[in-house]
């Protein structure tokens, strides 16, 4: 096991900057998820740690060792690919033992490790099968098995659950998390799915356009997003954003376009500042005062009810925690408690506290 340290890592493909100035320390035993929209550079960053991509600048260390110029096979890492990348001409057992065999481990140690891993993953009965004879979920497990038999310093996961159906994905998510809790191997996990990020990570790294937008524990990112991008990316349904201007006087707060006022707790705002307000759907209440609007769609989900409300200049999503009797074209007014309002500077997109 080892830590992974990235110092000012950058990567350019011709004129395109894919990664710029990435600084990140992944602690020994930590499960870190890199998340972001497609093309944000998360996979490139993971592949750079693996050594499958050369970085254009900066330093990558695994433990204390600088690995920039070290071949993937000498980095002591294991990677699980989105496509699983099982060797089609080898059976499950050979797929799993291939790495140990290349490292010239003794045969009894190899079979012990393979048996152990296949036991953990429930692959015992499948050892003699070829990958094409396995279901998607089984292939995924074999790919995991191939990684864990190696007992590497770092696990790298490149969207390993993307090819599974929703039910299996949720199941494997839990299994991977349980596996990490028992093995405690440093893991870097790439996904575009913020639910995977929220549920599995010790820490989440949110990336966009080749830069790190925020690093933090899942709930930290949820409760205190550092900028509009993170606020919009983390959380489902996504946060509502409304523009407004800071006013002070008898009633101070942020005035929206339709003239309604929203009270905020942020001390760092100044009068006249253009602001973007962020409001989580579950924090908006349909009460008698506040932003007025008209109900557009009501979507009952059982535990909650999702209501889309059209206001003067935007469409807001409200997640009502209790059963609600509103129906389309009803007039409603939305209010929110000041501590729950996220305030972002409109020009920079950064959080203002």
């Amino acid at each position: 096991m080892a830590s992974v340290t990235l110092q000012n890592v950058s990567k350019v493909f011709g004129p395109v900057k894919v990664l710029s100035g990435i600084n990140l320390t992944i602690e020994d035993g930590e499960f870190v998820v890199l998340v972001g929209p497609s093309g944000c550079g998360k996979s490139t960053l993971l592949r750079s740690i693996a050594g499958l991509e050369e970085v254009s600048g900066g330093e990558i260390r695994i433990g204390d060792r600088l690995v920039n110029d070290i071949a993937p096979r000498d980095r002591d890492i294991a990677m699980v690919f989105q496509s699983y990348a099982l060797y089609p001409h080898m059976d499950v057992e050979k797929n799993m033992s291939f790495g140990l065999m290349l490292r010239k481990e003794p045969a009894d140690k190899i079979s012990k490790r393979v048996n152990q891993a296949s036991g953990t993953l429930g692959l015992g009965a499948l050892l003699a099968r070829l990958p094409k004879q396995l279901s998607g979920g089984q292939r995924q497990r074999v790919a995991m098995g191939r990684a864990i038999v190696r007992d590497p310093k770092v696990f790298l996961f490149d969207e390993p659950l993307s090819n599974l159906d929703a039910k299996l994905r949720a199941q494997m998510r839990t299994e991977i998390k349980a596996l990490h809790q028992s093995l405690k191997t440093t893991s870097v996990y790439v996904t575009h799915d913020q639910i995977e990020a929220m549920t599995m990570a010790n820490r989440i790294v949110v990336m966009n356009e080749g830069i790190v937008r925020q690093v933090g524990a899942p709930l930290e990112l949820y409760d205190r997003p550092a900028n509009v991008f993170v606020a919009g990316f983390i959380g489902s349904p996504t946060m509502n954003f409304v523009d407004g201007v800071v006013v002070s006087g008898k009633k101070s707060g942020v005035r929206l376009k339709d003239g309604s006022m929203v009270e905020v707790n942020a001390r760092g705002v100044r009068e006249g500042q253009a602001i973007t307000l962020g409001m989580r759907p579950e924090h908006l209440l349909m009460s008698g005062t506040g932003i007025s609007g008209e109900v557009l769609v009501v979507e009952p989900l059982g535990m909650t009810t999702q209501v889309s409300v059209k206001t003067a200049d935007s469409l807001l999503t409200v997640m009502a925690m209790e059963r609600t009797s509103v129906s389309p074209s009803d007039k409603v007014q939305l209010s929110i408690a000041p501590p729950n309002v996220h305030v972002f500077d409109k020009s920079t997109g950064n959080r203002v506290d």
Binding site: A50, A71, R73, I77, Q82, A85, Y87, H89, L102, R146
Partner: protein
């Protein structure tokens, strides 16, 4: 209505069978006729008229070709040239195809373009310069010259063929192998090559057949009797005043044998090979 649609069905399937039968007959008839002539005694060849099978059969033509002509020599020459060409072309085309499929390098598009360009010249146009070049290098009138020229003319297509096979093998497999502990060369040898065997089989078969049946260059570059390939050798059965049909057909039948054996041997690779590169799984 039901009766009519059934009639239509029978008619359309009959039509299909007739079409298939006609096509097979068209393809197989020359082979059948070659075999038939080869076993017809010489005195019956013109006297019997057109018959589907001779009233008397003989293997004399085969005996004569094997014992009294240079045909075994031609046959051996063809075998040497075709096998050498197939192996050299497949080895070079595999490496070139791998590079074109996997690496990004300056001038990559130009390499593909130049390879394609070599396929666009009519053979007749390049024969005079090629003859001059080969003569200067001492590559006329020997088998080496044929191997060189066949290799040159087959390598472009074979490279594209192999490239498409490599394209069909996911890059992640190599990456996984390289993380597991392989160098790039070891990943190629242990993971990619075993998966490309069908493609290589198809390439070997294609090049072998092309070299085996080539006539133009063999005719132009070879003069000595002992260096002739069988395709040129067949022409020796055409005399100034008469054609020895029986012997020529016997020689042709024998020339078919290695190709048939070859395809029988490669068949299991060919079916997957020729389709494997086409569709990405």
């Amino acid at each position: 209505m039901v009766g009519q649609s059934r009639l239509q069905r029978i008619l359309s399937s009959t039509g299909l069978y007739v079409a298939v039968f006609l096509y097979v007959a068209f393809a197989v008839f020359p082979i059948y006729w070659t075999v038939k002539i080869s076993v017809t005694p010489e005195n019956l060849l013109y006297s019997e008229g057109i018959k589907l099978w001779p009233t008397r059969m003989t293997l004399q033509n085969y005996v004569t070709v094997l014992k009294a002509s240079d045909f075994p020599r031609y046959f051996l020459n063809s075998l040497i040239v075709s096998i050498a060409t197939a192996l050299i072309v497949t080895a070079v085309a595999s490496l070139a195809g791998y590079a074109l499929s996997r690496f990004h390098f300056r001038g990559k598009n130009w390499v593909s373009l130049v390879l394609l360009l070599t396929q666009t010249f009519p053979l007749v146009m390049v024969i005079p310069p090629i003859f001059r070049i080969m003569a200067t290098m001492g590559l006329t009138d020997n088998l080496y010259g044929l191997i060189v020229i066949y290799t040159a003319f087959n390598i472009a297509f074979a490279t594209f063929l192999m490239q498409s096979f490599f394209d069909g093998i996911p890059k992640e497999l190599e990456e996984a192998a390289m993380i597991d502990g392989c160098t790039r060369a070891a990943a190629l040898r242990r993971i990619v090559l075993p998966l490309t065997l069908p493609g290589m089989g198809a390439t070997v078969a294609f090049v072998f057949t092309a070299a085996w049946s080539e006539l133009l260059f063999a005719l132009m570059l070879i003069n000595s009797e002992d260096q002739k390939t069988f395709s040129v050798g067949l022409l020796t059965f055409i005399g100034k005043f008469a054609v020895d049909w029986g012997q020529m057909m016997a020689a042709s039948v024998m020339a078919l044998i290695p190709v048939c054996l070859f395809f029988a041997f490669l068949q299991r690779y060919l079916v997957t090979g020729l389709t494997a590169g086409a569709v990405k799984g």
